[in-house]
């Protein structure tokens, strides 16, 4: 799969990237914020986008709405990565159009499996 990971923390991008590349053999694109994400998503058309919630410049929900508005990116499934593990938050994200939300800190060993499971459910 081609996966776009959007997070303002380079460490997290690196860890998730390592895990997904090494364990799942996926191709990874990294974006530091929402603006960059929109650009990369339109350019590379990834199979799934992992989207952080709190980011400078453009936060996760805004990015999602923008992705959905653009015909080129609106079909790409989005999975949120959130540090707030509250059930009502997850529900809010799914209502916005995300497939699901994975909570931080995530387990890199199961990240690949979790993403596949979420996409299968959707």
């Amino acid at each position: 799969m081609r996966i776009l990971i959007v997070d303002d923390e380079p460490d997290i991008r690196r860890i998730a990237g390592l895990a997904l590349r090494k364990l799942g053999g996926h191709e990874l694109f990294e974006a530091e914020n929402g603006m960059e994400a929109l650009e990369l998503a339109a350019k590379h058309r990834p199979d799934v986008i992992l989207l952080d919630v709190m980011m400078p410049l453009m936060d996760g929900p805004t990015t999602l709405a923008a992705l959905k508005r653009n015909a080129a990116t609106s079909a790409i499934p989005v999975i949120f990565l959130t540090a707030k593990a509250i059930a009502s938050e997850v529900e809010r994200f799914t209502r916005l159009g995300a497939v699901t939300a994975l909570t931080k800190p995530f387990d890199p060993m199961t990240l690949d499996r979790d993403i596949k499971a979420a996409l299968a459910r959707a």
Partner: protein, 847 residues
């Protein structure tokens, strides 16, 4: 002083009328006795006085008889004519006197009581006397006659003289007897009178005693008791009044010093009393607050300004905190928590409002929320990197590590996981404590909860060489399923940690009165008695080395307890050292909600059935429309799926029955193509997601997937018209909810706002104007697109009152179906940015 018991006093009071009656009778008897005795005594004395003349008469009679006898003796000696005439005169006088006296004497004797033995004796005496007397009288009269005859000589005279003299001693003797008897009779009479008077005196005395002992004493006692009671009552009152005054002073000063504002509203909504804090809160010092209404105090209570609406609104606000915006006299506003309760005060039913300026509380809440959010974000972000790095290293993804290094990385990974769990637990507990953890209570099948929890831990159990046995149950609890699973996972993981390998951890449930109890039973080492109470406290583990050896944060049971408390349930533990422990949680039991299915498509019906079963519904399947209608009317279900296409002829009656259920229970009614869904909003969406047959239903599902849930709420009391409209919109892929009254519409909008509101003006409960006025007060609803679709034309003034967000006005008879549909689509277009048809399917219908 001993106070007579109140009931004794009452009994005394009840005795008074009887005593009064007894007293009156006594007085009457006394009066009769006194009068009688007076009469009798007077009569007796009067008779005694009569004795005198009788005795005198008797004496005189004796004297006269002796004189007659003397004249008779003198007549023997042959008297001359002169002497004869003297004797004759003397004799005539004596005889006349004597005869008269005898008559009086007889009368007197007869006057005595006739029936006494004395009277009878006296009568006999008198008879004897009369015999002697008449002989004497006869002699005397003869003598008188002879004496007037000069020829009569002594020899002639001797006859009458002898008659007189012979009878005189008899007469005297008899007179003696008569006098004696008469005196005896008189004395007996006197004796009788005396006895009578004594008897009367005794009777009067007895009556006086009767009055004294039976009337006056008890009456006095009653009066004394009453007086005593009154006196102590008075003392008690004085004491009470003192206490009352003190308590009143105390509560007045207490209320006066309270930081909460307290205001008393009368039943019409006018303030009749308020404390200082309340006056200060609203800037209405110096009594200016009196007579104000809620509309004067709160910007968002305008509707409570007049008595009628106050009476309507206030019952809905009782006994819960409502958050309002307070309005000070100077025009500034502040957030205010208001608690209203009903009180029966001297002036009638009143409402007491306890108000607190919540500016500070809200600020603290905001800071706390921000803090929690920051902590959770700021701690979790670096931990994500640490944990990720360590996991990758430890798993050898980045190449094998030398032995010691691998060991150290393993330690680091284990501990970072512990740290993460700890942070999660602390945040959970914080949210639970502040009541910020929103729980979604719904009926849930307990079996499913137990299965989910045991499934989550099966791997761990296997790793420890244990098994988990879940006993079947059909109990349904009213609970937040995720939270109960969290508790069960926690209890199960404890049970697994402390159980010996090869044993089984059992999970079972049962119904105990109104609650469901779930028990997690292990055969582990057990918990010592002295620790049983402590284990539910934070950071308490039976053995302090447990945290290190067994993992765990020491917060699990505290969190479980908090979760159960929020459920209105409980958690407890029974344990015996060496034998094992049983943890039991209890939560309210739920009655299984009822689902009704009438579905022509067999496959579709099975999908509905499975979906509803998973949600804990009891399901009734109707074989034909008649059965469905009967069911709807007799036992209205919580959820119903009704297939209108299965029997088009019966669609109208199904619709009518569904309409009936909506009217009674306010259950939202949905049209999805050929289906009516009668269900709470959330379930309706899930159920709508299951419909994927051909036709309008499929188009709606596709449309919802493409555009998100762009739905129309149709407020229309003509249900047939509503159905026609809904079906027409369904053809365009528009999802319609129907409310048949303003009340149902308001309820449905509270749950979720529609993308467009289509509103009829004339409604059964409140008209469209009222509904719009209400919606304008809501920040979100006031921008809602609105299509006023009414039977009559709306004038300019009315249009102003009916405007929300983008608003259009159509008159039912003037527009074509297409014009209506176009208007709906146009307004929906304004409601949200249209998303192109090839957009990714959002998981809106995730079951």
């Amino acid at each position: 002083m001993e106070m007579p018991k109140p009931d004794a006093v009452d009994a005394g009071v009840r005795r008074l009328p009887r005593l009064d009656r007894m007293h009156s009778i006594g007085i009457a008897v006394l009066a009769v006795l006194v009068v009688t005795s007076q009469i009798l005594l007077q009569a007796g004395l009067a008779r005694e006085v009569d004795d005198g003349p009788f005795i005198n008469l008797a004496g005189r009679q004796r004297m006269l008889s002796q004189r007659i006898a003397k004249v008779a003796v003198m007549s023997r000696q042959g008297p001359d004519s002169f002497t004869r005439s003297r004797l004759r005169g003397e004799l005539a006088i004596a005889l006349a006197d004597w005869t008269r006296a005898a008559q009086i004497l007889n009368e007197s004797a007869e006057g005595l009581a006739r029936n006494t033995s004395v009277a009878r004796t006296l009568a006999a005496d008198l008879k004897s006397l009369e015999f002697a007397q008449s002989a004497m009288v006869g002699g005397t009269e003869e003598l008188l006659k002879l004496l007037s005859d000069p020829d009569a000589d002594a020899t002639v005279l001797e006859g009458p003289v002898r008659q007189i003299l012979l009878n005189e001693p008899t007469f005297l003797a008899n007179m003696e007897i008569v006098v004696r008897d008469f005196e005896r009779a008189a004395s007996e009479h006197v004796q009788g009178v005396r006895t009578l008077s004594v008897v009367l005196c005794i009777a009067i005395l007895l009556m006086l005693i009767y009055q004294g002992t039976l009337v006056f004493r008890p009456a006095f006692r009653v009066i004394r008791d009453q007086f005593t009671a009154l006196k102590s009552e008075l003392a008690h009152r004085v004491e009470m009044e003192g206490a009352l005054r003190k308590s009143e002073e105390w509560s007045t000063s207490l209320i006066g010093q309270l930081q909460s504002g307290i205001a008393v509203f009368d039943k019409n909504g006018y303030i009749t009393a308020a404390n200082t804090a309340c006056e200060r809160m609203f800037g209405l010092e110096g009594g200016n607050i009196l007579g104000k209404t809620p509309a004067d105090l709160f910007t968002d209570a305008r509707s409570m300004g007049d008595p009628k609406s106050f009476k309507d609104v206030v019952p809905t606000m009782l006994s819960r905190v409502s958050e309002r915006t307070g309005h000070r006299a100077d025009g500034t506003v502040f957030p205010c928590d208001v608690w209203i309760y009903e009180a029966q005060l001297p002036g009638g039913t009143s409402y007491v409002a306890d108000m607190r300026d919540s500016t500070e509380r809200r600020e603290v809440e905001r800071l706390k929320k921000e803090f929690v959010s920051t902590v959770s974000h700021e701690l979790r972000t670096p931990l994500t990197s640490i944990r990720g790095s360590l996991s990758l290293l430890a798993a050898g993804v980045l190449g094998d590590l030398p032995g010691d290094a691998k060991e150290v990385v393993d330690i680091a990974e284990r501990n970072v996981v512990r740290l993460i769990t700890l942070i999660n637990d602390i945040l959970d507990l914080e949210k639970l404590d502040s009541g910020k953890l929103d729980m979604q209570f719904a009926p849930v099948g307990v079996q499913a909860l137990m299965e989910r929890a045991s499934e989550a831990l099966r791997g761990f159990a296997h790793q420890e060489g244990l098994s988990i046995a879940v006993a079947p149950t059909d109990a349904v609890a009213n609970a937040d399923d995720d939270r109960i699973v969290q508790v069960l996972v926690n209890l199960l993981s404890n049970a697994i940690k402390f159980s010996p390998g090869g044993s089984t951890v059992a999970v079972e449930a049962s119904i105990v009165e109104d609650e469901v109890e779930i028990r997690v039973i292990d055969k582990g080492r057990g918990i010592p008695k002295e620790s049983l109470e402590l284990i539910f406290e934070r950071f308490r583990q039976v053995d302090s080395s447990d945290a290190r050896r067994k993992g765990g944060t020491g917060l699990g049971l505290a969190i479980s307890k908090a979760i159960m408390t929020q459920h209105g349930g409980s958690i407890r533990v029974m344990s015996e050292v060496g034998l094992g422990s049983t943890f039991a949680i209890r939560m309210p039991r739920a009655v299984k909600p009822l689902g009704l299915l009438f579905e022509g498509d067999e496959a579709l019906r099975q999908r509905f059935e499975t979906s509803l079963e998973q949600k804990g519904y009891d399901i009734a399947v109707a074989a034909n429309p008649e059965e469905a209608v009967h069911h709807l009317r007799k036992t209205p279900p919580d959820v119903a799926v009704l297939d209108l296409a299965a029997d088009p002829g019966a669609a109208a009656s199904l619709l009518e029955a569904a309409h009936f259920v909506q009217s009674i229970h306010g259950t939202p009614l949905f049209f999805v193509g050929e289906h009516i869904l009668l269900a709470p909003d959330a379930s309706s969406r899930d159920l709508a997601g299951l419909i994927s047959g051909p036709g309008a239903g499929q188009r709606i599902v596709t449309a919802v997937r493409e555009h998100g849930l762009l739905d129309v709420l149709l407020v229309e009391d003509d249900v047939t018209f509503a159905q026609v409209t809904a079906l027409r919109l369904a053809q365009q892929g528009i999802f319609t909810r129907i409310a048949n009254s303003a009340g149902v519409a308001a309820t449905m909008m509270r749950d979720r706002l529609p993308a467009l509101l289509v509103l009829d003006i004339g409604l059964p409960d409140a008209d469209g104007f009222e509904l719009v006025t209400r919606l304008r007060r809501d920040d979100r609803a006031k921008r809602l697109p609105l299509l006023v679709y009414s039977g009559r034309d709306i004038d300019a003034d009315e249009r102003d009152r009916l405007t929300l967000g983008p608003t259009r006005f159509l008159t039912k008879s003037r527009v074509s179906e297409d014009e209506f549909t176009e208007a709906v689509e146009e307004l929906l277009g304004k409601a949200a940015t249209k998303i192109p048809a090839n957009a990714a399917p959002p998981n809106m219908f995730k079951a």
